[in-house]
Symmetry: C2
Subunit: 235 residues, 2 copies
DNA sequence: AGAAGTTTGTGAACGAGAGAACAAAATCGT
DNA sequence: ACGATTTTGTTCTCTCGTTCACAAACTTCT
């Protein structure tokens, strides 16, 4: 997994963006991208790290350090050229090319995802919607028809699909995941509350509503306790 | 914000779970809880840290350390009592009480969320569905009727709502957020692609599909580049 | 009872990330 | 031309999180 990661620069004289941006930074780049797009829409040509940091909701030092991993795209005393930086980040993330995506499990959530316009807006193209329920196959959502899950392998092959979205019940998730992986998908976004086991070369990210709510509940409870302790102390 | 955090134990002799579990641990507790529930359903009475770690998809040492923040609930040479540990985690997170939740923005996504059964299963009770679109008000989803967003304050007050879910377009998110906060909500789960500004005492967590896809795309691109470099090197 | 085998809880080493602080590099005003 | 001002890029320090490794504590077998 880490075979080629810690190698110091491949070719001589190529220190720029030395293959390997910290994970925490990668997770923030899309946020910066969004902030830049919003500034660009407002006809702002140049922005300082402080401006950008405010728009992105982060510390300005952190933002500058993040951007420094990509290269030196700013100008001291001036700031960053909004459109130029936007393009550089997009290129670094890989948004200058299109990505084909399949959604498996077209229930409540899958249908919402299929209808989501923000999907296509950033170079993510829906190649197919797949479901195992015969009653759902053939239904039209947006501009796509729901296909049978049996077509998965053909769809992935024909559309060079790299990213699979799982929106099935938890029980089916691992099975669907295995099918995706064996068809050649190497990135998976999982909405089902299940732990997925995948080979090393496959990336999995999960979105879990229930976990988010529980984290909020924990802090909410703590706030209440703190208040209680405060009142008790005041007596 | 950190006023009472670094104080050493409140009462004498009360070192157990000394108010303040690391954030990374808090985020994993719900995963452990899910693993325990699944084991309990399979009539497993006792599980070792290795068993649990496998079920939760984490390192066993990490799991043990996480659990040690709650107290010493395991037995050396044996493992953990599944149901006992399950209760302890649930209590620590605050799931032994019910939490009232409102969803604002009943479009594609909000409707899917409202239909989501996994919501209620863990002590999260939907108090209301709110939308600003008059055409949507009155529509029935699940066992709730969509209310006008003008009712927000009354709903929050009458149901002691602590958690608000935002599923409106990005443009409306900050405005809705402000309304929620001023009505008394102190935890917010945001699905809109917008940076929310809130007072210190309010917690915000975001779920952002677009960001997740972009992170996957970055790694996907890197994998492809690595492969390319490998082939070039082999020539 | 005592030896052998398990498994927890935690100290210590290591690594990653956040933020403060500042020198270097650019612009602007005179 | 040159000092004052702005703002980046980076170094340094500190905090937080992960993982290893092992003594302590428990069970089981003889
Ligand atoms: N609805 C939500 O708001 C929400 C929120 C968070 C998480 N989730 C999770 O997302 C998942 C989907 O939720 P939902 O509400 O859409 O459920 P759903 O029951 O409405 O839809 C599930 C769909 O998956 C299909 N399916 C089942 N097995 C399949 C298989 N092996 N291959 C292909 N398709 C299969 C079903 O036919 C159905 O259409 C669940 O795991 C749920 O826990 C949903
Ligand atoms: N649909 C998805 O799968 C998906 C996925 C990821 C993120 N999102 C995000 O979630 C949000 C909702 O997406 P959607 O597809 O459901 O959009 P949508 O347009 O279908 O629904 C938005 C709803 O919000 C309501 N609304 C607008 N302004 C409001 C206000 N001020 N107060 C109360 N209600 C208001 C609208 O009437 C509408 O019903 C968007 O920000 C979107 O970017 C959606």
């Amino acid at each position: 997994m880490t075979s080629a990661r810690s190698r110091k620069s491949g070719r001589a004289g190529d220190d720029r963006a030395e293959r390997g941006i910290p994970e925490a930074t990668v997770a923030r780049l899309p946020v910066y991208l969004r902030a830049l797009t919003s500034l660009s829409d407002g006809d702002v040509a140049t922005a300082s790290s402080a401006d950008l940091a405010t728009a992105a909701g982060v510390n300005s030092a952190k933002l500058r350090k993040d951007l420094s991993y990509l290269g030196t795209y700013g100008t001291r005393g001036v700031g960053y050229d909004v459109n130029y930086l936007r393009y550089q980040i997009a290129r670094e993330i890989g948004l200058t090319q299109d990505w084909s995506v399949v959604i498996v499990g077209i229930g409540n959530l899958g249908r919402a995802l299929a209808n989501y316009s923000g999907f296509a807006s950033r170079g993510f193209r829906l190649a197919a919607l797949l479901d195992s329920d015969g009653a759902r196959v053939g239904e039209v959502i947006g501009d796509l028809k729901v296909s049978a899950v049996e077509d998965l392998e053909a769809v992935v092959r024909d559309n060079a699909v790299a990213i699979g979205v799982i929106a099935t019940p938890a029980e089916a998730a691992q099975d669907v995941c295995d099918q995706l992986v064996s068809a050649g998908v190497s990135s998976i976004l999982n909405f089902a509350p299940a732990v997925l086991v995948v080979p090393d070369h496959v990336d999995v990210r999960k979105v879990d509503l229930s976990i988010e709510l529980q984290i909020l509940a924990y802090h909410e409870q703590r706030k209440a306790q703190e208040l209680g302790a405060l009142e008790a102390g005041a007596v």
